[in-house]
Symmetry: C2
Subunit: 232 residues, 2 copies
């Protein structure tokens, strides 16, 4: 299965790229610059492509991102601290982001003769991001089957769709993905903040999977309190 | 119904914009520069927005278009002459173009609090463009309903989906759209070529609708032969 991977440079999509390089034919990685403040992650996506010896394309859609206002990931709104399960995390929704990135990826995959587009949406994304849920993924596949009829047959491959992030953390370790080769923090500072939704989720995942995480976090202990609050 | 219209500057989408300005609340027009050689059409889209007194945004996705190779609309491949019903017209397919433009339009519509995105796909597009067919439109709506769940409810409005282009030509006349305020030719020269698929389709439509078309075509008579060949 000739597969194109959407890779953000985060733990999930880097692990996905390694998994596919092992199990399928990885034909390349693509990333999107949608104007996210944590653009730093893209350096890690590029590094992942280099590590795996495949092509890398960064697609600049920041002009589109600028039109999709109201998200803390792209605008002058503070990135909220805390666990993903909290209401405040809705501030990190960029409307239609995944649908936009996926349709572009499908266009590229069709041009390159790929059989699949892979994306690392996982169980933990469901609560706040409607465009990461299984019913969206199924509807997206159905839509693409119509859109490319007679041109290409491309499968949307989402092996983590029902997996908790801790399972991805465990897999990353099995596949020898170095945590330092991935970037998660939404704030995009010099080191991971340890307080935003994705930092908290990352720490929790490595902890549950019992994987040693040498990543430096500015706030080392915030995640434990955040999880308690999110679970409350 | 607060409606955002995707307008290319062609006869169909300009007529659609006029229709919506009359029947609904037109909140703006958006166009896409996907690297098409007939970029000239975008001047007409902007003019349409000015005529109707609404906002206009041209979204540059030419970097994406450049990755979707193999179409005569974007690459160094000659635009084929003849009727849309001919096999050669498949050269004008840009893979996943409509799905990409629609997902972006939905993101913009969600940010602007719109109730609908309108697009001028019509019956004559079905033969060659899979992403203009009713089953695609229905699947796209279903996908978007999942993608924006809890954020926005946006209808994909396609009033021309089963209409022949001649019905749009008739409507354009009723709504006082000046043919000279629209651009169709895929070749994007100084005047309409009269030979490409969209010129032939335009002439045929005005002829059937019995609407006077003062547009200058380099080849005035080619369309009659092309229709005979397409129908054969």
């Amino acid at each position: 299965m000739k597969t194109l991977v959407i890779c953000s440079g985060g733990l999930d999509s880097v692990t996905l790229a390694y998994k596919i390089a092992k199990e399928h034919e990885l034909i390349g990685l693509i990333s999107f610059d949608y104007g996210q403040r944590h653009k730093k992650e893209l350096v890690y996506a590029k590094k992942c492509a280099e590590n795996l010896g495949v092509s890398y394309d960064m697609i600049d859609i920041s002009n589109i991102g600028a039109m999709l206002s109201g998200s803390a990931l792209t605008d002058d709104i503070d990135v909220p601290d805390g666990h993903y399960a909290e209401e405040s995390m809705k501030l990190t929704v960029v409307p239609n982001r995944n649908a936009i990135m996926l349709t572009i990826a499908y266009g590229v995959a069709s041009s390159r003769g790929a059989d699949a587009v892979a994306t690392a949406v996982h169980g933990g994304d469901h609560f706040i991001y409607p465009d990461c849920r299984p019913e969206f993924i199924n509807a997206f596949q159905a839509m693409q089957d119509h859109a490319l009829k007679g041109l290409s047959e491309i499968k949307l491959y989402t092996p983590f769709i029902n997996a908790p992030k801790s399972a991805i953390a465990a897999l990353s370790s099995e596949l020898n993905v170095a945590p330092s080769d991935t970037w998660s923090c939404y704030k995009g500072g010099k080191t991971h903040c340890g307080r935003c939704g994705t930092c908290v989720e990352r720490r929790e995942a490595f902890h549950i999977a019992n994987v040693n995480d040498p990543t430096q976090y500015i706030d080392q202990d915030f995640w434990i309190e955040a999880i308690k609050k999110g679970a409350a």
